[in-house]
Amino acid sequence: MNEPKVPDIPIEFADEVERELYARRKKIYPREVTGRFASLRTLAVWVLLGIYYVVPWLRWDDRQMVLFDLPARKFYILWFAFFPQDFLFLTFFLILCALSLFFFTSLAGRLWCGFACPQTVWTEVFMWIERKFEGDRARRQKLDRAPPTARKFLIKGGKHAVWIVFALWTGFTFVGFFTPIGDLAQRLAQFALGPWETFWILFYALATYGNAGWMREQVCIYMCPYARFQSAMFDRDTMIIAYDPGRGEPRGSRKRSVDHKARGLGDCIDCTMCVQVCPTGIDIRDGLQYQCIGCAACIDACDAVMDKMEYPRGLIRFTTENAVEGKPVRVLRTRTVIYGTALLLLSAGVLAAVLMRTPLGLDVLRDRNALYRETPQGLVENVYTLKVINMDEREHRYSVEIAGLPGARLILEHDDVRVAPGEVLAVPVRVQVDPYALRHASSSLTFLVKAVDDPDLGAHREARFLGPTPVAAR
């Protein structure tokens, strides 16, 4: 009796179906690619990483050239020393960076993502290391599918070991921007690193290892805010990577000797090389997509295939939406002009502000132990600590005066307020005033600090003078 074969329908419970609504991430194995843009990317890696790993070792005068000295609360960049009072400059500098990124994006699209972004640069190094151990794309796929053997363990182990060492060097260099790196290296050799230094080296090593070794394109897709909003700066004249369907479609494989146009075929031979080399795993022939980081690997791959087929290059190329439709290319347009002008003005402004800043900082800290003190003579006294910051390059002697509180007397513990360049001096002072001269319980008082050898160099800071509620007010 031949009964019709009932197909085996797998039954899953509703809960499990709901939990599996998203596909598990499939690991992407980008194929190796060579070409003009691949060479440019490699050059960018060498230059940018070169800067990162070499700069902390460079010196200026007798100190590190770039040092964000957190314990001493001073940031050194070239010949500048920045103090916490200069925090506004950091804010403006970050705004400048953002604005230049917007300007660059409106012109050149996601060139930052594909060529300069630290995530891309470090991932490229990690993948280069991976290729050295695990081989090309086919070999890597085969190795991952293979059962655990001693050989697989050695290969994977070797790769992770090199990754970890490189990540540790990266973490060490990062901490070297915040603590003098020569000193750090010496203490590392003697196993005498401080606990917090050790912690941060390991933390940044872990972040490098995790982001560049494991996460890779996931950072670009899920974590990067720029990835989400970069397209807002695009217009139809922004440079993008595009496949030319007018030239390429209909796609289909054919022999090189065949006249494909006669057969009604486009230039695309559907070799899928563009998909295989893509680090984010997209098919650029479907159009520009969110995941595309503009690395131009697909351009290199397609150009190589076009060369072999003796077709002209550029089936996938850098172009603009307008250019694809045959419209003229415009670089100077409202968007780019506005971004560019804003960038120019802000850069000039920040540069001028930095160059013209007063190299003298003053902070006034009122002694909070008591509201006010009464002297044996019956005067009301407030105690202050003045922090005088000499941001200049030579030593200065300063004079301290007060203003704004009639009848007040300033008493300095030491007459000689002398501050070395780049140093902060704490100056304890006392201000005394007759209580009957006070009009309010809380009065305003201004401290003036002037350089004795340079009357133009001065700073002032307002402070409060507290006393008893005045007799008249009672």
Binding site: E18, P84, F87, L90
Partner: protein, 100 residues
């Protein structure tokens, strides 16, 4: 009482890496900003003068401050993620007293 099933929250169906990143990464960024602004204005050594605070170096204070900020901002991000997942079943239309 039969309620219409609101279905799984779209948040719960997102990949785990996306949900974890959505909590840990923005909180990390803003904890960094908070740390920089706070400690540019306030020298940690001044804070360490307070009673009951463990004796830390400046670096230790920056680090501890950063992680406390991160904990706070991560808590906020977690709440955001949690509340984005709220789904209420569709209300069944009933006869209103005014006849609508």
């Amino acid at each position: 009482m039969q309620h219409a099933d609101p279905g799984p929250s779209p948040i719960a169906t997102l990949p785990a890496v996306q949900r974890v990143s959505a909590v840990l990464w923005p909180s990390f960024l803003f904890a960094g900003v908070a740390t920089m602004v706070f400690f540019a204005l306030i020298d940690p050594l001044v804070l360490l003068d307070c009673q009951g605070v463990p004796p830390l170096s400046r670096t230790g204070a920056y680090s501890l401050g950063f992680f406390l900020f991160w904990l706070l901002t991560a808590g906020a991000s977690m709440c955001t993620l949690y509340f984005l997942g709220t789904r209420i079943p569709p209300r069944k239309p009933i006869e209103e007293p005014d006849g609508s």
